[in-house]
Amino acid sequence: MNKYLISKKIVINDLSTFYSFLIGLSIGITIGSIILLVQGQNPIEVFSLMLRLSVGSIKSLSSSLNKATPLILAGLGISIINSVKLWNIGAEGQIFMGGIALNFIYISYQIPNSKLSIILLLLTAFVGGSICILLPALAKVLFGVNEIITTLLFNYIIIGFTVYLVNGPWKDPNSLNFPAATYVGKEVYLPTVFGRLSYGFIICILCTAGVHYLKEKSVFGYELRISGGSALTAIYAGINAKQKAFIALLIGGGLAGLAGGIELLSQTHRVSTGLSQGFGYTAIIVAAITGMRPLGIFLVGSLFGALTIGGTVIQTMGVSSYIADVIQATTLFGALISQFFFTYKIKEVTNDV
């Protein structure tokens, strides 16, 4: 029956997540090529075009990095929350909530100074993300309600709420076919660094460094690790495990909210159902596949941003943009599968003597 037994390796190569990602990527590209061949396309042609139009010029590279920004920020939030061994499946909703909160403040208050206004609006977006995870967080720390389920369900509540807003109270009368809120004014657009690269990406770099510090070098990160390892050890050490988990959840939700805010101020410029294109879900996988390491999230997130841009532009060749999604998903599955061989050893059950 069970001829093979598996067990965890004691020493796991530090770079294993990196290697398994590379293996996954080659699997993803191979499968993508096969699909392209079946569809009568030349994969090399398609991929080189994708490469050129996603990272080949300052303009395209900056588009890719802008695309990566929400993915990375939401991923960082998930990684902080995972320090206490909790999951946040609700990043998608938190991204929307960030945008909603931002827009709410924008239409409710007039702030004369546009720089100050942008900063305040982004903070609002962060708070919006935190508010979005508040109930799941409270339910978790007070009653132990499974956060995977509550954060997941909250996505639908928030997205439903977004649909309500853009079809109802916030509906832009000028947007006839596509339900969306009115655009924000140009004065609060996030400025660009060069090419199309938004300052959002700079914020993203800062957040990556910040989260890395928080997780690896700070007392708070240490307390999160102990709390995540064992709540009883935390209590024993005098660490308020629930409070730490609560704070981690709020920060994580906030980062996803910030992602929504940046996306709104730099890309969509309005609240609509297109504010997030599944960033929140992809972010979970990106975070998990990189072993929750901030730097890994940054790199893989950037790559996926480029892949998405590449996927959009190849549509002009008559190639479905879904091919990029398939490559992403197979890359992730490939990485997940190869991760197994780095973390476990397999042994055949024998007793031949």
Binding site: V145, I148, D325, V326, A329, T330
Partner: protein, 308 residues
């Protein structure tokens, strides 16, 4: 009289929407009972929907379409089973990837089928144009509806009364204890995951071959996620899940009718209510039943046999 017909129309729509959600939820329930969480329901429904549709367009053979739809979704679910059961990788992550892959793969497969007409359609038991009483509504449902009822009774019976079902639950409750009873944990979980996928596939086939009926990208539009919520709502019990499916289906049916009934309520907000109710139920159950929400104890935890 007019009111009756409207009411019956609402009931009819409730049953149709509820059937789809229920079948997918029932499949997920079986998978979760074995201790495997599969968040990929949305992707599996999509795969079932597109493959069933393709076969129907090409062959016109309904039976074959349903069969292929169910089988391909089941095969697709086996990917999740392989990654989580055999390779012990994280179930949450794998399930989410399954959703992305299912949605994109089905969009690719179905690209040429967008807008195609169906030569056949899954029929109703008895065709009644405007049923005027509950009895007429109940006998004029789609075959899949009756299949759903059969699956509900069968699943409840198998889980509670048969050795196979008790063993499946044993694996989901405590895989190590189940292993010590000589049960094959991996095999059980693998089968349960594939069966769950098959149910999702059936829901998908129902979607494209009767409920809508056409094919377009992302046409599952979140129903897979509702199915996941339904399992929680139903406390991992087939009959309670069916009640939940009726409620969720009712709300789905109600939304487009709200305005004709003259309600000021925003249909978009009404659509949110099932999720809010599910969250409240979950919290209340956790508080008052000391965490006994009905969830299998071992859900999400990979099983390792102790060995050296």
């Amino acid at each position: 009289m007019m009111f009756d017909i409207q009411l019956m129309g609402l009931l009819n729509a409730t049953l149709q929407a509820g059937t789809l959600l229920f079948i997918a939820a029932l499949g997920e329930l079986i998978t979760e009972k074995s201790g495997i969480l599969n968040l990929g329901v949305e992707g599996m429904i999509s795969i079932g929907a597109v493959t069933g549709f393709m076969v129907a367009v090409n062959t016109g053979n309904l039976f074959l379409s349903v069969l292929i739809g169910v089988f391909s979704a089941s095969l697709f679910a086996s990917l999740h089973a392989f990654v989580t059961v055999i390779l012990k990788q994280d179930q949450t992550v794998s399930g989410l990837i399954l959703t992305i892959l299912g949605l994109s793969l089905s969009a690719l497969l179905g690209k040429k089928y967008v807008g195609k007409k169906l030569p056949v359609k899954i029929e109703s038991l008895i065709e009644i144009d405007e049923p005027s009483n509950i009895f007429e509504v109940l006998i004029s449902q789609n075959y899949i509806f009756y299949l759903g009822i059969f699956l509900m009774v069968a699943t409840a019976f198998v889980l509670k009364k048969t050795m196979f079902g008790r063993r499946l639950e044993a694996v989901g409750e405590d895989s190590r204890a189940a292993d010590s009873m000589g049960l094959n944990v991996n095999k059980t979980q693998f089968i349960a995951t594939c069966v769950g996928g098959g149910f999702s596939g059936l829901a998908g086939v129902y979607l494209t071959l009767s409920y809508v009926p056409y094919w377009t990208d992302n046409m599952t539009s979140g129903r897979g996620w509702i199915a996941l919520a339904l399992v929680i709502f139903g406390g991992w019990k087939p009959y309670r899940t069916a009640v939940g499916a009726l409620l969720f289906g009712f709300l789905e049916a109600l939304v487009p009718r709200l305005q004709t009934y003259g309600f000021e309520l925003s249909p978009y907000l009404v659509k949110i209510t099932p999720y809010a109710i599910t969250i409240i139920i979950l919290i209340v159950l956790t508080i008052y039943k000391g965490g006994r929400t009905g969830a299998p104890s071992n859900i999400g935890i990979p099983f390792f046999r102790e060995n050296r």
